[in-house]
């Protein structure tokens, strides 16, 4: 599934360095978190979780619920993406605000929001509804940003002459959207949807199994099923659960994503007939089916035509040069924005001042320990993915049978397997620590592996031949060709991987398993504990500290490495 990830990887604007805009965005997040924490003060002290049945007959029901949550979040993401990207791409002023915002949101560890969102929603809504909503919001935050970036990037890279053509022929906005903008973005949107769904499972499972102290936020679904099964040590149920999860993911891949990808291939911009266009059996079957053909000509086509004509008539073509928004409105908006930010920022600061010095020290140590764990997980992942990835990438024969295997394995969200992992390591010395690192590893290694495979596969044949002709030794070949060629891909993978690892820390460092609390120090366990005990100032401080740390790491470390890799090692 993530085969061509590198192709449509939305590149965040990596050339930007930290600016005042980043600071504003971080303050904005602080205000948002503060508002959440304020709401959370009214959160019930104990929340009863759902009864999870381990009967295999319950599995389809749970699978359906999980899928529905994903679908709801995905639709929400699309709804957010289209106007946001449009505004950012078409309005210069909006771009200056929206783009940095998106950029920071992309590098924020999303799971760190989960406790605040859960607590604040349970304070104002009925418990079950609140938890459902929190899960959907969480998945939304994991799916939306890269889709939005893809859409924004597509909009801003539409070739000048196509834009001019649609202007010269006076396309009404609706026509421009349907014949130019959406088709141009289609391929990238579909690819990013695939990625969003893959990432979404990770967060869905995390949300479904979240459980701290008296507060059981679990949701009936595949994740909770697996957790319950592991908790009871029921091997049969574990097998059923994993099987159901894999089946759901494979079915979605075969029945939804592959057909969509094959269909979207027609929107390639290339003016050359491509070889090896993707195909999907399900799409072929759909195209051949009479029922589908009938539905298209009798139902779908006319309805679409009607809607199209109606919308076309609603939006007349522009006849005049664009008007600009009056400056008064802009200033008004800016004033309201800064007022909210200023007031909220002050209140958040006041709450943060209530955090004792000792707690700040604990936060600092926690950050350091988690950073160490992330580092270890990355190092272990690199150690095995680089040799294997290069081997797969440079040997089509090996790739042919390893790749599908790896893809299936990788498609199972690491968070779903976490309870099972706990079952395995719970009795080992340093079990919690080991489990945390292992979960980080499981969640991150695939990003690295797929990127390295892609990088190795992209090494031009002539360079490989040249190094063979020069009779370079194995070491020299690695040093002068393979490592530099793979490096940009490796960095891209590592950035995503480290983001994933930080996310994993929220559920990895403190878990409740079979009535027993497995905990190891770290920022993740600190946040989880603050959630369990209702220590709201600490919750705000720790969450904010984690966000700032990860954003800074991205800005100051990863971005530099990335730029270096792109400048020096990218094979064009």
């Amino acid at each position: 599934m993530p085969r061509a990830k590198h192709v449509f990887r939305t590149s965040s604007p990596m050339h930007r360095t930290a600016t005042w805009a980043d600071a504003v965005v971080v303050v904005g997040l602080a205000v948002l978190l503060y508002a959440g924490v304020r709401l959370a003060l009214g959160a019930p002290a104990a929340i009863r979780g759902p009864e999870i049945s381990l009967a295999p007959s319950a599995l389809p029901w749970y699978a359906g619920l999980s899928c529905l949550r994903m679908l709801a979040a995905y639709l929400l993401s699309l709804l957010f993406t289209l106007p946001y990207g449009y505004l950012a791409a078409r309005n210069r002023r909006a771009e200056h605000v929206l783009l940095p915002l998106l950029d920071v949101l992309q590098s924020v560890p999303i799971l760190s929001f989960l406790p605040v969102v859960l607590l604040s929603l349970t304070a104002i809504l009925p418990e079950r509804l609140a938890v459902e909503l929190a899960a959907i919001v969480l998945i939304f935050t994991s799916q939306a940003w890269n889709l939005t970036f893809a859409w924004y990037q597509a909009l801003s890279t539409i070739p000048m002459e196509l834009r001019e053509a649609s202007a010269a022929f006076r396309f009404p906005p609706w026509l421009r959207l349907t014949t130019l903008e959406l088709p141009f973005a289609a391929l990238s949107l579909v690819w990013n949807s695939v990625m969003s769904w893959a990432g979404g499972w990770f967060f869905l499972m995390a949300a479904e199994i979240f459980h701290v102290g008296q507060r059981d936020f679990r949701l009936p679904g595949l994740g909770a099923y697996l957790q319950e099964a592991a908790s009871q040590g029921d091997a049969g149920a574990i097998l059923h659960g994993v099987g159901a999860l894999v089946l759901v993911i494979v079915l979605l891949d075969q029945l939804v994503w592959r057909p969509l990808l094959a269909w979207a291939d027609r929107f390639k911009l290339e003016m050359v007939d491509g070889e090896g266009a993707p195909s999907a059996w399900f799409l072929t079957a759909l195209r051949e089916a009479r029922v589908v053909a009938w539905a298209r000509s009798a139902v779908w086509g006319p309805v679409l035509g009607r809607v199209d004509a109606w919308l076309l008539a609603r939006m007349p073509s522009p006849t005049h040069f664009g008007e600009t928004t009056p400056p008064a409105a802009r200033w008004g908006l800016a004033a309201v924005g800064s007022l909210v930010l200023g007031y909220g920022g002050l209140r958040a600061a006041a709450l943060l001042l209530a955090v004792p010095l000792a707690a700040w020290a604990a936060i600092a140590t926690g950050l350091l320990l988690t950073l160490l764990r992330v580092g270890v997980a990355l190092a272990v992942a690199l150690a095995w993915t680089v040799p294997l990835g290069v081997a797969i990438g440079s040997s089509p024969r090996l790739a042919a049978w390893v790749q599908p295997l790896v893809q299936i394995t990788a498609s199972v969200p690491a968070t779903a397997l976490f309870p099972i992992l706990l079952l395995a390591v719970v009795r080992l010395p340093g079990g919690a620590n080991l489990a945390a690192v292992l979960l980080m590893l499981m969640g991150t290694q695939w990003y690295l592996l797929f990127n390295i495979i892609a990088g190795a596969a992209a090494i031009p044949q002539d360079l490989k031949l040249t190094s063979a002709l020069l009779r370079l030794s194995r070491w020299d070949r690695w040093r002068t060709l393979i490592l530099p060629a793979v490096f940009p891909f490796l960095v891209t993978g590592a950035i995503t991987a480290s983001g994933g690892a930080w996310n994993a820390s929220i559920i990895a460092e403190r878990a409740e398993f079979g009535g027993q609390v497995l905990s190891t120090s770290g920022i993740g366990s600190l946040i989880a504990e603050a959630t369990a005990t209702g220590d709201y100032p600490l919750l705000l401080a720790a969450t904010l500290a984690m966000i700032v740390t990860v954003v800074l790491l991205n800005r100051l470390v990863w971005r530099r490495i990335y730029r270096y890799a792109e400048d020096r090692c990218r094979l064009e």
Binding site: P159, E161, L162, E164, A165, S166, A167, A168, F169, R170, F171, P172, L175, T179, L180, P183, R266, F267, K268, L269, E270, M271, V272, D273, G305, L312, A313, S317, P318, T319, H320, F321, D567, R568
Partner: protein, 445 residues
């Protein structure tokens, strides 16, 4: 309002880009009229704003100064009576040939039944019947451009604007398409009242147009208009035709000016600035060698364009560089090598580098850059610093191109080194050594 058959009237139109503190004119003070029944071409070196002018006339771009009138009425927004054929076709790759024509009609709000019949008729007229269902990627360049023409015709334009429509085609397709367009135009088979074509191919302009508007750059402006009174079909080898081509070349290539005017002034100094032509010394050497093979070391510019198969755009840039470095002079559309140019053409590579170095060092831009490098402590200069300084005199993208040319020429002449990974200019040999790869050897001033 009386318009005297004037379709388009430009009154003192200008396009200013504010970059930093100083405004730059992409186009300045252009006054021009397009009358019914005319085929007008815009020619000029790259950067003279001919495409910008075309976009202003179609309403794709709003001029920052002056007025655009269409049939006496001021133009606000896209001109509904004009349409464009693009250099790169601008077809929607996901629509079929039919779909690409249909979409223009759909935008005009025609009902589907009418659209299909009309689109098929148009495709028929340009000779694409049978290809309705094909996708653009399945067609050759010439056929794609035919779709472009059919789509433009679909909206019954009074004014047909062509933006270098033949320059992305192979020679044979371009020639065929030119003939077909001329036939449609001269026989009145299309309702078009006037055609405005931008081209960098001077021969093409003389071949097709009734009037040639010649533009110059820095700032973009109209320098002259030439009436072409040759009957169609025009014979390319006819003396009158060649004379016309020569005349356009003579206007465009101008006359070699006294040195101080030719070179312009250095950044930060008063006086007219002259950007370096964006060419490489290697290409310049090729031109000089070619001219050296001609009797008397002189040649007609339009002949060279034909012989070398280079566009007039590129050729004009090369002659400008040759004049600037004192290798050649241009008079009346002819280029002649100076004794220095002859020496250069015959010299070995090392000798060429020597000659180049002595000549380049005299250019104000190089004098300025080398002086800045000398003045710095470590004989090195960040690209950004140089770029910022240049941006005071040139628009941002021109400044970037100036730096590229400076790097190319400076490296060739071994006057300076440039480290691409750190974006730094170097002067000292020691600096070049630490620069590692990316820098060439350096010679002290």
């Amino acid at each position: 309002m009386a318009t005297n058959g004037e379709l388009v009237t430009l009154e003192r139109v200008g396009q200013v880009y504010a970059s930093g503190e100083r405004p730059f004119f992409a186009i300045q003070d252009v006054t021009l009229a397009l009358r019914e029944g005319e085929f007008v071409t815009l020619v000029g070196p790259s950067g003279c704003g001919k495409s910008t002018l075309l976009r202003i006339i179609t309403g794709l771009q709003r001029p920052s100064e002056g007025r655009v009138l269409y049939r006496g009425e001021p133009l606000r927004g896209i001109n509904p009576h004009a349409t464009i054929v693009f250099q790169t076709f601008a077809l929607f790759p996901w629509l079929t040939v039919l779909g690409n024509v249909d979409i223009a009609l759909k935008a005009r709000g025609l009902p589907p039944t009418l659209r299909t019949a009309r689109a098929l008729d148009l495709l028929d007229r340009v000779g694409l019947d049978g290809f309705e269902g094909a996708y653009p990627r399945e067609l050759s360049g010439g056929m794609r451009q035919k779709v472009g023409f059919a789509r433009a015709m679909a909206v019954d334009p009074e004014l047909l604007c062509l933006d270098e429509p033949f320059s992305a085609l192979d020679v044979l397709s371009a020639e065929a398409l030119r003939g077909e367009l001329l036939e449609l135009w001269t026989t009145g088979k299309i309702p078009t009242r006037a055609i405005l074509m931008v081209t960098h191919n001077i021969e093409e302009a003389v071949f097709m147009a009734d009037r040639i508007v010649v533009m110059q750059k820095d700032p973009g402006r109209v320098v002259t208009e030439l009436q072409v009174n040759l009957p169609h079909p025009r014979q390319r080898k006819a003396p009158a035709f060649l004379e016309m081509v020569d005349k356009v070349y003579a206007t465009l290539a101008g006359q070699t000016q006294p040195e101080h005017i030719e070179m312009g002034s250095a950044p930060g100094e008063p006086g007219q600035k002259r950007p370096l032509p964006h060419t490489t010394i290697t290409a310049l050497a090729g031109l000089l060698e070619h001219v050296a093979t001609r009797p008397g070391d002189r040649a007609d510019l339009y002949r060279i364009a034909e012989e070398l198969g280079v566009g007039s755009d590129h050729l004009l840039g090369l002659t400008e560089a040759a004049e600037l470095l004192g290798f050649a002079t241009v008079t009346g559309g002819d280029i002649a090598l100076t004794p220095l140019g002859e020496t250069f053409a015959e010299a070995s590579i090392l000798a060429r580098k020597e000659i180049c170095a002595t000549r380049i060092r005299r250019l104000p831009l190089f004098r300025w850059l080398l002086a800045m490098l000398q003045a710095t402590h470590e004989k090195r200069l960040e690209r950004d610093v140089a770029h910022t300084a240049l941006e005071l005199d040139f628009p941002a993208e021109v400044a970037a191109r100036q730096l590229e040319t400076l790097i190319n020429w400076g490296r060739y002449a071994e006057l300076l080194a440039y480290d691409d990974t750190r974006d730094v200019f170097y002067l000292e040999p020691a600096g070049a050594a630490t620069a590692g790869h990316g820098g060439t050897a350096v010679k002290e001033e």
